[in-house]
Amino acid sequence: MVQITSPAFKQNAARALADAGLQKALGKAKGAFLQRRAEAVARLPEFEQLRDIGRDIKNHTLANLDFYLETFAANVERAGGKVHWCSTAEDARAAVLEICRQAGARTVTKGKSMISEEIALNDHLEKNGVTPVETDLGEYIIQLRKEHPSHIIAPAFHLNREDWEADFRRMHTDLPADRVFNERRDILAEARTKLRERFIAADVGITGANFLIAETGSSVIVTNEGNGDLTQTLPRVHIALASIEKVVPTLEDATSLLRLLARSATGQDFSVYTTFSTGGRRPGDLDGPEEYHVVLIDNGRSNMIGSEFQEMLRCIRCAACMNHCPVYGATGGHAYGWVYPGPMGSVLTPALVGVDKAGLLPNASTFCGKCESVCPMKIPLPNMMRHWREREFERHLTPATVRSNLALWAWVAQRPGLYRFATKMAVGTLRLLAQGKGALRSMPFAGGWTQGRDLPVPEGGTFMDRYAKMQRGR
């Protein structure tokens, strides 16, 4: 498993806020995503209706998930492919390695896949003598740097152009050291040349899957670069990695979800390559893999069914939630400490690795609600983060000071007279401390809290005062 640093979220976040390079990259990239999505949504008047349709398709599928998975598997096999059912990350790693061994594979090319990160596939392959080569441009540099993606659709979100140039010079030592990168396109051209050799040499190609289609037994990938297609077309064996909730019933269902995916993700009307793979090479075909395998992975998802987190399984991994999240925008993805960052990660990570390790993530939210309002699948992300906070509290994982303060608040809140008196005093004291200013930069006994935040000072009286005044005014 990828090393989990989620328990150190606070330290990770502090480091991220102080990292000038990261802050520069975040500042540059963020606005572009928001603007492009807003424009794409504005170009499609039916977008809101499609969100309801998307939610309903996934709800229908999840309510009949056993049926659709069995149908999918039967149709893969009808097309000559093989499905490998894997309960755990370990099962999935073993299944992939076994296919690679059977194929006598020395190198495998890889399309972008978050489930591959989740099961830590690359480390496992390397340890067993198979060299994995990431071919998505962002994943490629992440692999050169021995890092993990900081964003689910833009893995190198945290890097600046200077980083790319320096890493390419460091790693591509067969090229002239004095070559010049005038434009971003020169960096891209160098990666294209380098990876071409790898595509041609690979014995096995591994991709993820954006969707699985029960009706036809197809796996679907969505890319802009074409790397996923080269990965699955040129080698003799194609392995598609997919978690169980990727299945949808029909091509029409997938089509409706595809109308939401690119618009929510990159703000494109449609991605450049949307590719449906069904079985291996047919008689007479001049190209394409001879073998087609689907490694179907549960790794904790079936436990979410029937729980208050079931709706998270509607997620289509567009990244709109993190693109719009003020916390992600400040810390970047690595601070979250595991594979999935941002609001979707704050809900999914505790479900997959345990709330004991990832309990801080659902707390790293201002509950501004932007994530839910842009989610194409209408997943109630803030509400589910609240459920995780409850679970954390129930399991006594919340820090003692928080628990005792919550207990004190609860005791006061159950005594209306005392509560009114206390809030009145608090409002008066805060206004006195602020000396006419709108916000407090530091607070006695709460220096830790105000270190990174300003406390707004109440403008009027307490809620009860204002409510009473309103009633009188009627």
């Binding site: 008047p45 071409r196 019933p249 409706s256």
Partner: protein, 235 residues
């Protein structure tokens, strides 16, 4: 067995056993009828405007289109495009009956081989199965006559597309595939691979700034043959 464990856990979560026969039959009915959902209005247009929308969307996504009046003009359009782009008049051609029947001999300077693409090919000429006006998207199903490598390996891909093959929405293109193709292995309609292609390859992984020509073609050019009298631009 992992399969039983996974299905069992799902059923426990759903608080039921395997689906009863009547419910299975209902779901099988849904698969067989594969109902459409909402189709956006933007492509619900008269034929001429549908073709115009397709061209407009291809160009928005950095593709180019040359419209010709008949199939006989395709070799000339290919030769012109290669000359304009300063490319050698050499390409790999999809081994497709329709493309083989074109009057290539009238442009003797064009050199080509009909086969799958190789990494050394710089230009490919592919056969378009269908196209979707909604987003300017080509549908390219794999087939002995339409190898997938032609969509991927060359820096320049030219697709020959008949205007009668342009539909409004993706769903209509799926219907054409369902109606016209029989797979030799499954007896169904899905081939090994269906690519939906919208413009040339690109990446925004460096500072979220778009650059064309990542791993697939840097240029995507469509030679559109006006074979559909109902779809001609209105005078």
């Amino acid at each position: 067995m992992s399969k039983d464990a996974i299905l069992g856990a799902i059923r426990r979560g759903l608080k039921r056993g395997p689906l009863p026969a009547d419910q299975r039959a209902m779901l099988e009915g849904r698969l067989a009828t594969h109902p459409r959902h909402l189709i956006p209005q933007r492509s619900r247009l008269p034929r001429p405007e549908q073709v115009t929308l397709f061209v407009k969307n291809v160009e928005k996504e950095f593709g180019t289109v040359a419209r010709v009046a008949s199939a006989a003009e395709v070799p000339g359009a290919v030769a012109d495009y290669l000359a304009q782009q300063n490319l050698a008049p050499r390409f790999v051609l999809a081994p497709n009956d329709e493309l083989a029947a074109l009057p290539w001999a009238e442009k003797p300077l064009l050199e080509f081989e009909a086969r799958r693409a190789q990494p050394t090919d710089t230009v490919s000429v592919q056969h378009g199965f269908a196209a979707i006006a909604e987003t300017g998207t080509l549908m390219l199903p794999s087939d002995p006559q339409r190898p997938t490598t032609l969509n991927l390996l060359a820096e320049t891909e030219i697709v020959v597309l008949r205007a009668s093959r342009i539909v409004g929405a993706y769903e209509e293109a799926w219907d054409r595939l369902r109606a016209e193709r029989t797979d030799p292995v499954t007896g169904g309609f899905m081939p090994r691979n269906v690519m939906l292609v919208t413009g040339p390859s690109r990446s925004a992984d460096i500072e979220q700034t778009l650059e064309l020509g990542a791993h697939g073609p840097r240029r995507l050019h469509i030679v559109l043959v006006d074979d559909d009298p109902a779809a001609l631009p209105e005078a």
